[in-house]
């Protein structure tokens, strides 16, 4: 279970949110600028909140009251951002292996092959990032993030460069794998169809504040209605 109570200021933007995610898959939904990426960066440990606490499975990751802040990479948390940020001087396989230093060479190679297969990127192993399409790069970024076996996976609009069919297929495989490996996932999106399609728990963010938290159909009822009207309008 992921619990957090955060207060963070970034220039004029103020994020203040407190909640707990009990579901295996939670969608953080909100328009651009609502604080989704800021929230994920705080959870990942890349940024520190002004005040607050983050705990995963009852273990504190950040606690401003005690000065605790486990650095990113030491909190069993992975983040896949919209920009894949693959290391351009390394091959795809070396990118995926970057976080597997503790494994010996054969175990590392096996793990890299497994993760590339999961992401549907096996054929890309020897390629350089510069030669990949946006969708291919996002697959590799996912494989790289999952390789060290995180406990929490944070996804920030990670499949924006994949077409709908490919994205759905990858999401389905990913959700199955996460369930098997007991990894909790939090995905940020501003796409209402993505949020509704998963039928997951949804956190609705508005201007840095929690507007609602609950089942997708309930939290996004208004957005769903608007989407239906728009689709109906098109079909007429």
């Amino acid at each position: 279970m992921l619990e957090f109570s955060l207060d963070a200021r970034r220039g004029r933007f103020h994020l203040e949110v407190e909640c707990a995610f009990a579901s295996d898959w939670t969608v953080v939904f909100g328009p651009s600028g609502s604080g989704k990426s800021t929230l994920l960066r705080l959870l990942a440990g890349l940024d520190r909140p002004t005040r607050g606490r983050i705990a995963l499975d009852a273990h504190a990751l950040t606690d401003s009251a005690t000065g605790l802040h486990l650095p990113a990479g030491h909190r069993h948390t992975a983040l896949v951002a919209q920009q894949p940020a693959l290391f351009p001087h390394l091959t795809v396989a070396a990118n995926v292996a970057y976080g597997l230093r503790s494994l010996d060479r054969p175990a590392r190679a096996t793990r890299v092959a497994e993760m590339l297969a999961l992401a549907g990127a096996t054929d890309l192993a020897s390629r350089r990032p510069q030669s990949l399409s946006g969708g291919e790069a996002q697959r590799v970024a996912l494989a790289r993030a999952l390789a060290p076996a995180p406990r929490l996976l944070l996804l920030d609009e990670p499949f924006s460069a994949l077409d709908g069919v490919a994205s759905d297929a990858l999401l389905e495989r990913l959700q199955l794998w996460l369930k098997e490996n007991q990894v909790q996932a939090v995905m940020a999106t501003h796409d209402v169809t993505d949020a509704l399609a998963m039928g997951a728990e949804v956190l609705l963010l508005r201007e840095g504040r929690l507007a609602a938290l609950g089942p997708a159909a309930q939290v996004l009822a208004a957005e769903r209605e608007r989407l239906m009207v728009r689709l109906q309008g098109r079909s007429d």
């Binding site: 990479g73 940020a85 290391f87």
Partner: protein, 226 residues
């Protein structure tokens, strides 16, 4: 041609450049990645030798390393000889004098690396040392080359610090720049031309090397085409 001075200049520049790299790479990484409010003061301090007149720097070092200060007396007791007017003293002076020429290109190179790559490496467990060796240095290798060449050339051509701190001791502190100065003072313009041509040729060659390697844009730091 004073081959002894030529060899001494090369030795001084090589040793100084090696020491500078060991100092400048972590220092530049700290300046780029660090978040302390004191880093601006540290960067200003590291840049100071660039604007300080070499003779002033040489004079300060001469006093600091000499018998007038406790520090200088301590160094003398430790080494068994004073640092001033010795090759090792020249190395100390050269490292301080050329520090900005090593640090500044590295700061610029490290700062040009996409922060998303740094974040990605941190998320995958990279500590500061691995971040520098596996991400920053490989992606800023042209800046590293520039830092090496500039440090080397700046040391080869330095005069004020060398004269103040080292004097003119053949085989110990007499570098090519001092030789050139002596030749001009003795109105031996033919020899001075020769020495100056060697210093000029080394500079032109090194700059050609830097520009041939830095004309291409830095490698793509993200990914790719959609």
């Amino acid at each position: 041609m004073d081959w002894q001075a030529f060899a001494l200049s090369l030795r001084l520049a090589t040793v100084t450049t090696a020491i500078l790299l060991a100092i400048a790479v972590p220092l530049a990484a700290l300046l780029v990645l660090g978040r302390s409010r004191w880093l601006a003061a540290l960067e200003a301090l590291a840049t100071l030798p660039m604007v300080l007149p070499p003779t002033v720097l040489g004079f300060f070092l001469l006093v600091l390393l000499g018998p007038r200060t406790a520090f200088g007396r301590g160094i003398t007791a430790l080494l068994g000889h004073p640092l001033a007017f010795s090759f090792n003293g020249l190395v100390v002076g050269s490292v301080i004098y050329s520090l900005p020429f090593a640090v500044q290109p590295l700061v610029a190179g490290f700062a040009s690396v996409d922060t998303a790559l740094v974040d990605a490496a941190r998320l995958l467990g990279a500590g500061p040392v691995r971040l520098v060796t596996s991400i920053l240095v490989p992606l800023a290798r042209r800046s590293l080359l520039a830092a090496i060449v500039l440090s080397f050339l700046h040391t080869i051509g330095e005069f004020g610090v060398v004269l103040m701190l080292g004097g003119d001791i053949p085989g110990s502190t007499r570098t090519l720049s001092i030789v050139l100065y002596n030749q001009v003072e003795n109105f031996d313009y033919a020899a001075a031309n020769h020495t100056a041509a060697i210093l000029l040729g080394m500079s032109v060659l090194a700059l050609a090397l830097i520009y041939s390697k830095t004309q291409k844009p830095e490698s793509a730091h993200g990914v790719g085409r959609a």
